[in-house]
Amino acid sequence: MTSLGEIPVRVEGETQVDFGNARPILGEVRHALARLLDSGEPTQIDLGAMPFGPGDEQRLLDWLGRGEVNASIEALGPTRIQETALRGVWLVEYLNADEQRIALHLEIDEVPRLLRAPREDLRDGLAELDARLADADGNDPTGPAAD
């Protein structure tokens, strides 16, 4: 399927207009950062639920800037994570397998949630490693361990 981005559309005029819908989000981010500092409580803001006009999202992202960290996760399509110039404020873009956006969140946290390994995965990882070690022991050319 041709993606919408491939259709040559020239937008006139209103892209330069500031609809004023981006700035209030900064206030929300400020509260969230203060809360993270005070109580360690993280916050997620769904940017898809904001009444943004053309250019509002870009204006917000320009204000937030780019930080040092970016990461990408491959699970049910890519997820791109970019730290903003404000440490602890992360832009998390969820994409489907066709690289179309399915959600855009701001996460205010030390580390975005999706980057942390789920506990069940740690357990599975441990079991997997044990199995491999057992397997490796069985195939050890020097034979089984003495004890």
């Binding site: 207009v17 993280p42 009444p51 943004f52 949630r113």
Partner: protein
Amino acid sequence: MVKSSATDTAPGSSNETTHPTPSAPEHRGPDTMTLGESLRRNGVSRRGFLKFCAATASMMALPPSMALAIAEALEQARRPSVIWLSFQECTGCTEALTRSFSPTVENLILDTISLDYHHTLQAAAGDAAEHAREQAMHANAGSYLVVVDGSLPGPKANPGYSTIAGISNYDMLMDTVKGAAAVVAVGTCATFGGLPKADPNPSGAVAVQDLIKGKPVINVSGCPPMPMVITGVLAQYLTFGKLPELDEYNRPLAFFGQSIHDRCYRRPFYDKGLFAESFDDEGAKKGWCLYRLGCKGPMTYNACATMKWNGGTSWPVESGAPCLGCSEPNFWDAGGFYEALSVPPGKSGDTLLAAGVAGAAVGAGVGLMARGKAKSAAKSHQTVTVDELEQQL
């Protein structure tokens, strides 16, 4: 927005669910697997699942912090059986749903419901199709969902206007909903009668809620309805096993709780009294409010202003077109699409300008006036020609 914490719990515990009790996991076929199992079987990792839940929260218009609660609930959720009936409709609703970008969360939700009968999408035809419907009704008695798109000739109308396999729409609906847990009317035809009901309503079309008594009816209006809202309602049922909170027209409040006008990015211009006067004047180019060009945003309740269309690309007002109010009852007979709401036909825009200057304070009143006006327009059934339309613009 709202906090996130690992202690969030699902609003609907598994005790409240209306799904039947699942059978033992090892014996589960595709129809009895939980959603969690079904996704994992398709190779979706735990991170993928969490991502799915984050996107589902957005789709259900819930705060992102609900993702963990959704994940917990979905682990247990069973695939509900869905019977989809299409009556007097244009297939636009099904198109909207299935032509959304793939593979998306919507598709995943569709994959995880058991769509046992859908005239347009199923391969079976004739007796085999009707047999599938009866079988789904029998196997899932009391727990299946019936989704309806399209209005249908009422009990007093000539049933010959719309039949399927020789069965009148009315008989098929009444027979199918008997064992249903709930009915979801999708699109403005099913919810309010829609275009088939437009004056003079030759087929005697009625809405689904006019006929169903004693069963919950959820109305997902819109012409077409937003795909994310259709799947959002199904996802809500799938996740929490209960039906959403509804407004006075039985529409889910999560999506229809706020007017287009209240969430419109052009609202600051409305509040300042800055209106586009034609589709190509300076105001239009600067993105001013489309009220004077007939925008029905103040009286229309839907999620377009934030969820947008075509994968979040745009929505009518963003494309410079006034909202037609397609999710409201009677929008089809409510006067010209390009007539400003509170201006009586033929008069200048003075009233409107006053409304614009007074801005927000007047906003609510405008909605009420608009509903009154829609009623009177429906009574006198104003018609409009292309020439008249052009003159007005």
